[in-house]
């Protein structure tokens, strides 16, 4: 097991290196640089030049890359070009929020998807199935930011049930934080439920066709037992993979939701940093999310045998 994890991590190195190189070159290809952005419209050329020197932007790009990569390997992602905050700490503080929203949403979405996907497949072609499939298809067709805005409008502004801005950390105002996170979490949950439900439903249908399900019924087991013991674990394995992919994707990409709900999360940080050409932050974030992506997938592969013992990790 440990060898396996070690091996997987080793295999991830070229991937991560490519990501690092790509992002490093990409941000430098975008017109504009942090010095200009920071000094703004009326800045003198000398001021911009001196800031560029201070930020180390006038060194040769390969030298910059080597320096940055060397430091990053040592765990130092550098400081934000704009605010001077250490990038590592910045990412971690923003990621906490994103992680909470994503984990809860994906957890809820999985729960909903598994329940309804299982039931719909069990009663395939019934009215329930039709309703579940219809809802899932509908949800899949709604742009998540639009959904978020509509929810915000209805529950935040019209009904005034939930706060619309002013995220506060849990430690300060637990109730406030929870209330504030309700809408983003609901939005994200709804958005992610569609594809997961469809996946769960179709893999359940596949499993229900297999002999061992009939065999379980032939033993006289109740439908509940058949579904929970024999169908669920086998049907869940493909969904689990999808959950992993979803997590990997969302950890790096709920910028849109964060924008709608004014959450100071990682996605927003990345988008803002690209727009502000804050190279060290963009680079750090990308390296972080890519690593996270690799780790989440590794975790899924390690968890997979729990549901499908045919697959072994070593």
């Amino acid at each position: 097991m440990l060898t396996y994890i070690f091996k997987r991590l080793l295999l991830a190195i070229p991937t991560l290196f490519l990501v690092a190189l790509a992002v490093f070159l990409l941000v430098r290809l975008i017109p504009g640089d942090p010095a200009q952005v920071m000094l703004g419209e009326g800045a003198s050329p000398e001021a911009i030049a001196s800031l560029r020197t201070e930020l180390g932007l006038d060194e040769a790009v390969p030298v910059q890359f080597a320096t940055w990569l060397g430091r990053s390997l040592g765990g130092d992602l550098g400081n934000s070009a704009i605010t001077g905050e250490p990038v590592g700490a910045l990412i971690l503080s923003r990621f906490q929020l994103t992680a909470v929203v994503v984990l809860i949403s994906v957890g809820l979405a999985t729960l909903i998807a598994v329940t309804f996907g299982l039931l719909a497949a069990w009663r395939q072609n019934s009215r329930l199935d039709l309703a579940v499939l219809g809802m899932a298809s509908f949800v899949l067709a709604v742009p998540s930011f639009w959904l978020g805005l509509v929810l915000l409008l209805v529950f935040g502004v019209m009904l005034q049930w939930l706060p619309v801005v002013g995220y506060v950390p849990f430690s300060e105002d637990a109730l406030g934080a929870v209330l504030f996170l309700v809408l983003p979490i609901v939005t994200l949950t709804i958005s992610e439920t569609g594809v997961l439900t469809r996946m769960m439903r179709s893999s359940t249908i596949d499993v229900l066709r297999l002999d061992y399900v009939t065999h379980a019924r032939a033993k006289g087991l109740s439908e509940r037992t058949v579904l929970m013991r024999h169908v669920f674990p086998n049907a869940f394995a493909p969904t689990l993979t999808l959950v992993g992919l979803t997590l990997g994707r969302l950890f790096g990409g709920i910028a849109v939701i964060e924008t709608v709900f004014t959450l100071p999360g990682l996605g927003r940080l990345m988008v803002d940093s690209v727009l502000a050409r804050d190279y060290p932050v963009v680079q750090g974030c990308l390296l972080f999310t890519a690593t996270l992506y690799v780790l989440v997938n590794l975790l899924v592969d390690i968890l997979y045998p729990l549901f499908d013992p045919r697959v072994t990790v070593s």
Binding site: V271, V274, A290
Partner: protein, 269 residues
């Protein structure tokens, strides 16, 4: 039965989309780019079925033209992604070995890149234009197609008819062209329909973040995003493009389901 009803709805919605696009070529209620500053933010009326936007442009006309542009962008992206995905995926899945390993490393690296950020940076580099969006989204979605094609190629290359082709003395390129490619197409077709929907959604999300298709050309995405400040005061601005997106995606997804049912080997006659 249920499957049928969904299929018909899917065909119906996609047919409607095509009808709207085709109608748009010969007739639009107004010039979708013409401003009318005396008539801004007019609610829906007989003169303007879906109202007007903040510059007095007719929302219905813009939604119709937007259908064409959005669909065209999606089609271009899907075509480009599928073409590139087929080449890479087939190379990777059929040749295996080092080719596979290198291509997969690139693909993994792309996958590990948060899609929206990749698109955002690429568009910033390439300059904001339709082509940049097509290219950026194609690159962002390439790994998904590659995965599907590669998986198909890996499974097809084990089929006996591929072995039969080798036994008949066919070269590898011919085998891929004649046997692997055609049989890898069904899953690709299915993911292409999903891709179409994703692209429409992504384009709108990019517009929302301010890097969508540049104005004045309307797309549903940039209509929706520019309607955002008027969400509460002029809701018709966001309802029309929003519903267009939902209807199109619903139609496409249902069509995809129908296709999946049709192409599923278990359902084959």
């Amino acid at each position: 039965m249920r499957g049928r009803a969904h299929q018909y709805l899917g065909f119906g919605l996609v047919g409607l989309l095509l009808l709207v696009i085709l109608t748009g070529f010969v007739w639009l209620p107004y010039d979708p780019l013409a401003i009318d500053l005396d008539n801004v933010l007019a609610p829906p009326s007989w003169a303007h079925w879906l109202g007007t936007d903040q510059f007095g442009r007719d929302v219905a006309a813009r939604a119709m033209l937007g259908a064409r542009i959005s669909a065209f962008i999606a089609l271009q992206t899907v075509a480009l992604t599928v073409l590139a995905g087929l080449i890479v995926g087939l190379a990777s899945g059929f040749l295996r070995g080092w080719t596979d390993r290198i291509l997969m490393t690139f693909s993994d690296a792309l996958l590990a890149f948060p899609g929206i950020l990749l698109a955002l940076s690429l568009i910033a580099v390439l300059g904001q234009s339709r082509h940049s969006i097509v290219i950026a989204l194609s690159i962002a979605y390439l790994p998904s197609v590659v995965r599907v094609v590669r998986a198909a190629a890996l499974s097809i290359r084990e089929r006996e008819y591929v072995e039969a082709s080798r036994a008949a003395g066919d070269g590898p390129l011919y085998t891929v062209w004649r046997y692997v490619l055609p049989n890898a197409l069904p899953p690709v077709l299915i993911i292409a329909t999903s891709l179409f929907g994703w692209v429409v959604l992504s384009e709108s999300a990019l517009s929302f973040l301010g890097v969508g298709v540049p104005a004045p050309a309307p797309t549903w995405g940039n209509m929706l995003s520019s309607a955002r400040p008027y969400m509460a005061s002029a809701s018709w601005l966001s309802i029309a493009p929003g519903l267009c997106i939902v209807a199109t995606l619903l139609g496409i997804n249902m069509l995809g389901d129908a296709l999946r049912d049709r192409l599923d080997p278990r359902n084959a006659a």
